[in-house]
Symmetry: D2
Subunit: 354 residues, 4 copies
């Protein structure tokens, strides 16, 4: 059995890692660590998971400023460490783990960018730029071959996963005008995290939808990095995230102008060929669009598309669960590929419906 430590176990992504890993045949949760946990038992942090699993009674380690991970059992007694922390918080943990030759899958943003300057433009100063070049960006559908036996995986952002997978095949195939890409994404409220913010109260965000971070959201350069890699040249996109009154799910509606090649191409075949054999991607027949509820609680991405002949635009919709394929599920998928487990292990759960 592979021993697992989760650092950041009191947030929604951390809880989702636990939900998945508690049923994973190849590994065992050894340590849970969370800021402000005050060494409470896990059922006090997440009654929903704590009362139902063997984790009941497990003490959740606290992280204080003087906490030295180098000598901490949470790192020493484990094989792989999942970090589910806000950006900027991962660096000391990553360093400690790599020093001890522990594998790390980081769900935060700190190591997602090849180009440190891009990171710093959108997020601020980076504490360990030297580690960035040594990291694999873990969008499995793009980088599956790079992941095995790698020590540090940067797990992609939730919006980024949905936006990239929606447009990747058409960009790789050279079918769209690269200056025309617009991604309009609608996320469930869990995307805002478990922190206490007025905007996350039921009273404020239920029965309402809003745009936020317009023209300034930090997932923008990450989508650009992926699609630039696919296109073979730098490109710029528009990305608008919205908070939608539901717990989970991201629907991304992507718009692009078809170029001459794209107007003639069989777009459905391009999608199908690109994702053939992918265990977690489904492509719908042209004109049929997915709903986020269809993938609630699962690691799947479903993609639909249509072409508007009046405007010569292709419109692509992708749906995923932001906490699963957009976070914890993709992280486990990365671990499965890293260790050579069945890529679907722990990830076969089907959607709750309704």
């Amino acid at each position: 059995m592979t021993d697992v430590t989760i650092i950041g176990a009191s947030g929604y992504a951390g809880a989702e890692l636990i939900r998945i890993l508690a049923n994973h045949k190849e590994c065992k949760i050894r340590h849970l660590v969370a800021k402000g946990s005050k060494n409470r038992c896990f059922e006090e942090v997440f009654p929903s998971l704590g009362y139902l699993t063997e984790l009941r009674g497990m003490v959740v380690g606290d992280v204080d400023e003087d906490f030295s991970l180098k000598t901490d059992p949470a790192v020493n007694d484990t094989d792989v460490v999942f970090l589910a922390l806000p950006h900027g918080a991962s660096v000391p943990f990553v360093k400690a783990c790599l020093e001890k030759n522990k594998n790390v899958i980081d769900l935060g943003a700190d190591f997602r960018f090849h180009d440190v300057a891009t990171y710093e433009r959108w997020y601020g100063h980076h504490e360990a730029p030297e580690l960035c070049s040594d990291t694999v960006y873990g969008l499995v559908e793009m980088h599956r071959d790079l992941i095995p036996d790698h020590g540090l995986i940067a797990n992609p952002g939730c919006y980024v996963t949905g936006a990239t997978l929606a447009m990747l095949p058409l960009v790789e195939a050279g079918c769209v005008d690269l200056d025309s890409l617009i991604f309009d994404s609608k996320s469930g409220i869990s995307g805002a995290g478990r922190g206490l913010k007025e905007g996350s109260l039921y009273g404020e965000c239920s029965e309402s939808i809003k745009a936020y971070g317009v023209a300034s959201h930090r997932h923008t350069p990450e989508i650009e990095q992926n699609l630039s890699e696919a296109a073979g040249r730098p490109l710029t996109i528009s990305f608008t995230p919205h908070l939608t009154p539901m717990n989970r799910g991201i629907l991304t509606t992507a718009y692009a102008k078809l170029n001459e090649k794209g107007k003639k191409a069989d777009l459905e075949a391009i999608f199908r060929n690109r994702y053939e054999g992918e265990p977690f991607i489904r492509v719908l027949p042209r004109g049929k669009m997915p709903e986020t509820k269809w993938i609630q609680g699962t690691n799947y991405v479903i993609i639909g598309f249509t072409v508007d002949p009046r405007t010569e635009r292709v419109i692509v919709c992708s749906v995923l669960d932001n906490l699963v394929k957009g976070a914890a599920g993709q992280a486990v998928q990365n671990m499965n590929v890293m260790y050579g487990f069945d890529e679907r292990e722990g990830l076969t759960m089907l959607p709750i419906f309704p």
Copy 2:
């Protein structure tokens, strides 16, 4: 007192007309008519309104095939008739009313198009094309001067109102590339009506968001008609509606490329000048975006915008309540202008929050 008849009183737009008109100082509801009402008392159709108002006990007239409106008291004993019917159903009622010199405000689509051919391309055969040219399209902020004393007003579509008002000032001012307009709209479930459809069940549409009618929704040509009028030349747009798990509200996120004039212009001033004095439009400071909950249950439209210098696009968000400014409220606003009442009469209600 002006006597009012509502035909189509069993749907959500009909109920909203009743909610507003029951507190309107200048008029009185005389007749309610609804298909399939079987002459039930109103509280059986809408307990929420029926038990609380003087309408309790009022018999809701039924509409069957042989129903002859010409001799019906629902038309004879009234001054103004509101039609809240599916498209295609309004024509016989409109004819009967006009013959009797009754004013009509039609919330359906039948008389919204100047160009009958456009209507027929998107909706099918029109039964009374000769009446189309005699109609005023009742988007008050565009056509206020045409409405007084007019007999037949076509009330705009819900999505159309939000999309048009979001982009109207910039199109009129010549600030945007007219081929670049994209409207991504998110509507509450009430927009799908009160009909029994599997997709409108709580279990199917709660906790989920989906696109529908992509590149084919019938509000597309209506937005185009309005903005073409504003631009002074025909234009084509992309429009994608989505169903969002909330009862009311439409958020439209509109994208446009700024042209050379637009890049230099003071966009906030353009918005403010265009809507100065409008009783139901609010423009937010640049960079601040509205939420649909802010206008829940009201006749207001709130508009926010920002510019993305990286892509030279302007992104505009508008919010409205699809049943109020998007339907019944705008219809009452039209009546107020038609009769010279205070334009705000009956429409001063503030948003339910939370």
Copy 3:
């Protein structure tokens, strides 16, 4: 015009007072005060109300520890002060107002109990017991005659209003076993207030229902006070509140054993006679039950009941909007009675449906 000050304007009850009073013909909002408001403009505190009303730009006065209300214009320049504060916080404000001969309507619990010992058993030490005897408990349907020209009104608790009104007629009529009363209440999330608590996050309370404060909720002795007054002797009840995933509304399901008198009585007549002429109470035909959505955003209470012959119990359901009849609406109703305004003034709004 009567000048009004609202202290506690940043919570949901405060916002609801503003929503109602902004359309009240007899009064004008002169001052808004809220803890932690940092003298921000009102639209920063409640954009939904601030951007749409003349209150835009009004500075919300802050309340700090040294704040002396005696010399504050918020009290000096006003006629009536509404307090929407947590229990325990009202005393200094009430004293300052009464000293200046200002009328006070207190939405908190501090002055609801005739018997200070009862207050102190459930809430802790009372700072001004001498004022308790001088207060009218403002459940209008019980104490309408005591309210006019009174200086200090204690506005009833939200659960209390629904539970009391559900059982009041049967208790007054002597139809039920007084030891058998059970109130099982289901409240919307706004009842938990606007404070930042993990349990109020959308992610935690949406799609879930829970009981809380079981056998210990502070509204218990207040229901007992009302029904003991109605019964003419002390009684004890069971009361269980629940948090329900909706914004507004309380449904109380009340159970009582019918006594011999009750088994023979015409219960519907008892309900109808007791509430005849009440502007905000509606009684449904026996066997028909109300839904909270029917009164969303309104000051109405709707009551339904049935009798179970197998168990000889009567089951009564009452619904109200916890922020309106359960808080701000009832407070305005009290002001209307206090000043001799039309009791319905400002309170004629009908329910948002859907």
Copy 4:
């Protein structure tokens, strides 16, 4: 592998069976049958499940009036048949299956009553009373020993499971006044099924709670049957179901007067001893209450309780997922016990949170 047929595959309970069985190691779904399915492919009936599983493309057999199950492969080629049908519809299928020596687990009400007269009083005429005595009532926690190798299992009702398990230990232990039992239950909307009813529309049931079937719901005699069996004598209860605006979950708040024995007993020990070793029951420490979200999507029941010394009542809260432990999960649990599989097989999924 055990071959499974699901009849009634187009409703929510049918879908839930599929969600669970698709990941069950010991069996394989061979046939899906649903009324009105018109032999559509499964992804047309449930896209959420169809597009993600090997069931994509499986034709869903239709059931028409002349359909003879005796010769139907849906029965012939299978080992166990799950019936997820409205009450009254199971009889012909049960007969056909038993004739062919196929095992049947019936999720409907037809075979839940030992006493046919009770069934007929609440449901109407029974078509096959002779089969009732030969059935095991499959509440595993009561009848685990009777289930193995039995041919016809009647799966309990959703409300019944939660209400029974909440009060079973105290009734068995003789701690409560048997005439004082009241069950106030709050169910998610999926309990109303997937049928097209106005009351199940998002617009009607979101943001609202209501009681229904007060003093007349058909689960009442089933709870009475279970608790009478536990008490060793007939008893009568009050039961009030409510529809709550959430997809899944039932919270039952149960009230009982403690008798002399109950006042002295260690109630927590009674609960813990009764459910010790039960794989799907969790008992919380006294005074701590569960929330339905804690068991969303799982087969668990969590029970909390407290005692109110003022009224000498015990209040017990139980939560379960109405589609899992309240329907499909319990049915699979029955199958597991019937066939000697690990009782937890297929049922280890943990709750979606949030």
